[in-house]
Amino acid sequence: MLKLENIHVKFGKTPILHDISLSLSPGEIVGIIGPNGSGKTTLLNAISGFAKPSEGSILFQDQDVTRSSAFQRASQGIGRSFQSAGVFRDMTVEENLIIAIEQVKKYPWWWQFSRKYLKKTAEIIDHSLEEVGLTAHKKSLAGVLSGGQLRLLELARLGLTDGSLLLIDEPTAGVAPAMKKTLAKTIRSLLQEQKRSILIIEHDLKFLFELVDRVIVIVEGRVYMEGKPADVAQDRKLQEVYFG
């Protein structure tokens, strides 16, 4: 599914990621943890095309995408959510989802005025909003939603894309504890529905360890350790590095 080989990323002359190699199998959900500033988001940026590696290669579904732009990678199936919810705040919740549907379905523009299209789109949106519990906000501007609801909207939109690899950046950041269960359920449903793979960055280790198959620890831009959640959680070195 995804294979990173010796990836180096620099901002100007400052190295951020050093020699990162990792792989992800179809249907696998992998967590990335590490202290602030360790390069986790830069890693997602490198995979999704928002940061260009200075060395190394990125293979996605056996194709070299190292030099592809962000939108090309998204078209190829790499979906992405952002640290501060990446939604269109001046648009309604419904419109935020329609943009994702239209990208996947690629109907001719005149189809958008047909009843069949409107009905079909409404069904998809209603189903998607029902899953994340945002049905009542369908016509609201996304900008008025709470932090947790924005996260759910972003995940719902991610679910509507045809991405086979989803990169999720800190889904619980700024989210009330009560909503974390809904987020976890939504992320699981993203995985199960289309046999996707997910790479997820998260600081809430309890939330993450219950969700993922494998954890990769990044410290100062390098892969520090890798393993099953239970093994990683018990590692003394990790506790020193991660909790100080």
Partner: protein, 284 residues
């Protein structure tokens, strides 16, 4: 009667220009300030072609091609420079274009300009030209309304709010911006040609900075993605300076007074209204 026709023609001209700016500036947030350059080039293409004996209808096609060609150059530059530099580039190109038109005597007739631009037979009189103007406004407003309902309209609005998320959804934000610039250039080609046919004269000062200020005022006022807000903004800006006629100002300063009024108005809008009108967030 002549006065009202002139006001209606002015309103329609501003409305068409507003359509061009609405997509690229109000909806997408691209500071494409090179629009007067597109107009200048298209009106001169029309005038030079007509002076060479080309019929007005064929000259129209030349002028549109010239406008789109200039739009393509701007679209190319759009992806090569930062958004701020692109705005400065637009203004600088306006001054450069004006200087070129003034100094290239053999082709443009310098500061004297080119007079005697003929209208097509179909609308050779002012009333018939005004009808064409009204029809053009109706067609362009309808096209914009359709555009806003389609996925492309949504993408343009999304572009202004969050380019990065748009890319993450598989859309090339550069391409969206480039297409908007070319589409706006086409509209400005039409605006320029109709303007040249209306006043039947072009000189290097046509579509200068005062005109840009007027059009940008419409663009800033019509920030909402609705045709109705564009129409209201255009009406306000086109009719607003007409109050000056009630102040018995010397004719010589009327033009300057209008520009001054627009400039003050623009400052008030930007300072007071703009923060309330937009909740855009380009960051992720």
């Amino acid at each position: 009667m002549g006065y009202f026709l002139t006001v209606i023609a002015g309103f329609c001209s501003d409305a068409l220009a507003g359509v061009g700016l609405h997509g690229v500036f109000s909806l997408a947030g691209i500071f494409f300030l090179g629009i007067p350059v597109v107009m200048k080039i298209s009106v001169y293409a029309l005038a030079i072609a007509q002076r060479a004996g080309v019929p007005p209808e064929i000259a129209f096609i030349f002028a549109i091609i010239a406008a789109i060609a200039v739009g393509i150059i701007f679209a190319y530059l759009f992806v090569k420079v930062s958004p701020d530099s692109f705005a400065v580039l637009g203004l600088a190109s306006l001054l450069a274009c004006e200087s070129l038109l003034q100094s290239w005597d053999s082709v443009t007739n310098g500061i004297l300009g080119i007079s005697g631009i003929r209208r097509p037979e179909l609308f050779s009189s002012l009333p018939s030209l005004v009808i064409i103007y009204v029809l053009a406004v109706a067609v362009f407003f309808l096209l914009e309304w359709i555009f806003l309902q389609t996925r492309y309209g949504r993408l343009v609005r999304a572009y202004k709010q969050n380019e990065i998320v748009l890319q993450a959804l598989g859309h090339s934000s550069s391409r969206i911006g480039q297409l908007l610039i070319i589409a706006a250039s086409f509209v400005y080609g039409v605006v320029g040609i109709l303007m040249a046919w209306r006043i039947q004269f072009v000189d290097p000062s046509i579509a200068g900075i005062p005109y840009l200020i007027e059009i940008v005022t419409i663009g800033v006022l019509a920030l909402n993605p609705r045709v109705s807000s564009l129409a209201a903004a255009t009406f306000f800006v086109a009719v607003f300076p007409e109050v000056l006629r009630f102040f018995n100002l010397p004719t010589a300063i009327m033009g300057y007074a209008r520009v001054l009024l627009y400039s003050i108005f623009l400052m008030v809008i930007i300072g007071k209204l703009l923060p309330k009108l937009s909740i855009s967030n380009r960051s992720t």
